[in-house]
Subunit: 363 residues, 2 copies
C-alpha cells in the first residue's frame, strides 16, 4: 500500500493506493466520529463490491445503511441528490455519521455534495472504484451536481477524511472507462510533469493490460501532481494558473458533454477531445510545435481515446463554452500548453484562432 | 454607524449597524470582486426598498440583476432555491459576481445557500431588513433550506463579506415580526449576558416603541454576543457548549414549527415558546428558581411573544425533537439554563422531566 498525504492544514487527509484496500476496514474505522456510515453506491458497482464491504464493516462493529443509486452522469442531478437526503433523514442520520462514496466520479460528486450540505456538513470518505475517480475526483474536494443549464454548476468544496483507492476494483472496469481515466492521467503529464509523460508513452501498453504495478504508479503520480496543485490553491481562487491548470481540455470538453447531452460521452472522452482542441490552439499560438501536438494526440489515441470532437457547429461550441465556470468577468479564459509539461491560463487568444482550433478538430 | 468585526481569520467580516445604511453603497462597493451583484429579495421587502437600493448601486457603476421571491418560510425550499440558480445561470453570472440578500432570515438563508453552492461558492453580502435577521441570521454563516422531513436540514456554512444592518428598515416591520426578533435578543441575555438581560427588562418599552437608540444598542449587544460565540466555534464542532448554546429554545421550537406546519408560527415565536419549555426543564433540574423562571417568562411575554406551546401531544414533540440536528449519536442534547445568564448543553435530563416540561407548557 502506498500512502499520499494531501496537505490542506486542518483539512489534510491521506490517500491510500493499492490492492485489497476494500478489506482494510481498520483504515476506515480510524476516521469515524461514531461507528455509523451511510454507503452511497450505484447499480453497477454495488453488485460487485457492496455486500463484501458492508460485511467487513459490520464485522468491525460499524453500523451501515447503504443506498444504491441509478448509474451514470445523467443521474448527477437534484432529483438523485434528494433521494440521498431522504435516505439520510429516514435513517435519522445525525451530524456524526460518515458518508462513504463507493463508486466512480459521479457517485463521489453526488455523495460528497450530500455530505457537504446534509445538516450543513458531515464527514465523508471516498472509495473510488474507477481509474478516473481514483486519479481525479478523489483529490481536491470538488463535489456537486449538474444543472439543466450546465455541468457542475451547483456544488461545494468538501474535503474527505480519507481516500481508499483499491486497484483491485479496476479489474472489473470496462475498457472504455479505463481509457477515460487515462485521459486525466495523461493530462498530468501534459500540464506539469514531462518525465511522467515520457513514462506514460513507454508504459501505455502495460496500463491497458491493467498491470497492477503500472496502474499503481500512474495513480500515485497523478494524485501527487494534483495534490500539489490543490494544496496551493484549495478553493480555486488563484487568478493565474493554480488549480485552473487542472482544467486542460475541460472548457472544450464540457461544451462537448453538454452539446451531445449528458451521459453520451464519458467525461474523460470529452476531456481527451477537448485536450486536442486546446493543444491545437496552443500550436496556433506558436507554443507547441506540430511534433509536440502530434505527440499529445498520439498518446491519447494510444490510450483508446477519441481525438476528434463532434460536429456541433462552432457557434454552438462558443456559446456552450461561455457558460463555463472558467469565464471570468465575461472573458473566456482557457488552459493552454506553453510547451509539453507546462500549462498556462490564457485569456488573450484571438476569436479567429479559437474558431479555427474548434473547426479543425471536429468531425 | 457602529461597526462590529466578526473575527474568523481569513473569513472575518464587518457588521455595520445604524440608520441610512441602504444608501451607503460605498460600503458595498468596497467588497465586490467585480462591479456586478445579484440582489435576492422578496415580494414584501422589494416594494419598500429594492428600487432605491438598485438605483444607488447603478449610480455607483455597479451592474444589478435582482430576483424577487415569494415571501415566507414556506418558500425556503429546494424549488425556490432552484429559481435562484436558474436566474444566476440565465444572467450568466460568473464566480466573481456577488449575491446580496435584501430581506429577512428566510431570504438570507436562501440567498446565502445559493451563494455557497452556485459554482461551488460565490461572494455574499447580507442586508437584513428584519430585527431577527439583524441580530441572528446575519451573524454566523449558517445558510440553508428546509426539507419536507425537517427544518434547516440542508445547508452550508458560508460567511458573508459584509453585513449592513440598516435600522431604518425596522420602521416598516410588522409588530409580530418585531416581537419575533426580540425573542432572539432576549436569548442572548439569558444564555450569556446578565447585564444585557437587566437592560432589556428596563428598556423593553423603548424597544417596542422602536426608539432608534434602543434598537441599535440591542442589535449591537446581540451581534457582539453571537460573534464571540461563533468566532470560538465556527463550524459548530464543540462537543460541549460553544455554538450549540445559541440554540436555547430551538430544539423545542423546531418541533413546534414542524408540528404546526412551516410558516404558521414565526421562528422567533416558536423559539420563545421553546425557551419557556427549556426554562421549565431547567427549573425541574433545580438550576433555575421559580422566580428566575417567571422572570424569563415575563420578559418574553412583555416583548409580545407566546409563552405557551401548541398541543401537539408529548409523543409527537419527542418524535419531532429526535430529528433535530442537536441529536448526537442518538442522544437528545438540550440547551438549558444553569442560571439566568448562563446556558449549558445537557444530555442527561430524565425522560420523565422532559415529558413533564413539555406537558406543563402546552395549551
Amino acid at each position: 500500500m502506498r500512502t499520499l498525504n494531501v496537505a490542506l492544514g486542518a483539512r489534510a487527509y491521506p490517500i491510500h493506493i493499492g490492492p485489497g484496500l476494500l478489506q482494510r476496514v481498520d483504515l476506515v474505522a480510524a476516521h469515524l466520529r461514531t461507528p455509523r456510515v451511510t454507503i452511497v453506491s450505484n447499480t453497477v458497482v454495488a453488485p460487485l463490491y457492496l455486500d463484501a464491504f458492508v460485511a467487513s464493516l459490520e464485522k468491525a462493529g460499524i453500523g451501515v445503511t447503504p443506498i444504491v443509486l441509478p448509474d451514470g452522469e445523467a443521474h448527477k442531478n437534484a432529483a438523485t441528490l434528494d433521494t440521498i437526503y431522504d435516505h439520510l433523514l429516514a435513517e435519522r442520520c445525525d451530524r456524526t455519521m460518515t458518508v462513504v462514496a463507493l463508486g466512480g466520479g459521479v457517485i463521489g460528486d453526488l455523495a460528497g455534495y450530500a455530505a457537504a450540505t446534509y445538516q450543513r456538513g458531515v464527514p465523508f470518505i471516498q472509495v473510488p472504484t474507477t481509474l478516473l475517480a481514483q486519479v481525479d475526483s478523489s483529490v481536491g474536494g470538488k463535489t456537486g451536481i449538474n444543472h439543466p443549464r450546465g455541468k457542475n454548476m451547483i456544488g461545494a468544496f468538501w474535503q474527505p477524511q480519507l481516500v481508499l483507492a483499491d486497484t483491485d476494483t479496476l479489474k472489473t472496469l470496462p475498457d472504455r472507462e479505463l481509457s477515460a481515466g487515462l485521459a486525466e492521467v495523461i493530462k498530468y503529464g501534459l500540464i506539469r510533469d514531462l518525465p511522467f509523460l515520457d513514462w506514460l508513452e513507454a508504459n501505455m501498453d502495460r496500463l491497458l493490460a491493467r498491470e497492477a504495478d503500472a496502474l499503481s504508479h500512474a495513480i500515485e503520480r497523478s494524485c501527487a501532481n494534483k495534490a500539489e496543485v490543490v494544496a496551493a490553491d484549495e478553493l480555486e481562487m488563484a487568478k493565474e494558473g493554480g488549480r485552473a491548470l487542472l482544467n486542460l481540455g475541460h472548457t472544450f470538453g464540457h461544451a462537448i458533454e453538454t452539446g451531445v447531452g449528458y451521459g453520451e460521452w464519458l467525461h474523460g472522452e470529452a476531456v481527451a477531445a477537448g485536450t486536442v482542441m486546446a493543444a491545437d490552439l496552443s500550436r496556433r499560438l506558436g507554443w507547441l510545435s506540430r511534433d509536440d501536438f502530434e505527440r499529445a494526440v498520439a498518446l491519447l489515441a494510444k490510450a483508446g481515446l477519441p481525438t476528434r470532437s463532434p460536429e456541433l457547429g462552432t457557434d454552438r461550441y462558443l456559446d456552450l463554452m461561455s457558460h463555463d465556470k472558467k469565464v471570468i468577468a465575461g472573458r473566456l479564459r482557457l488552459v493552454l500548453l506553453k510547451r509539453l509539461g507546462e500549462a498556462v491560463t490564457y485569456g488573450e487568444a484571438a476569436p479567429g484562432d479559437i474558431r479555427a482550433a474548434i473547426e479543425s478538430c471536429c468531425g
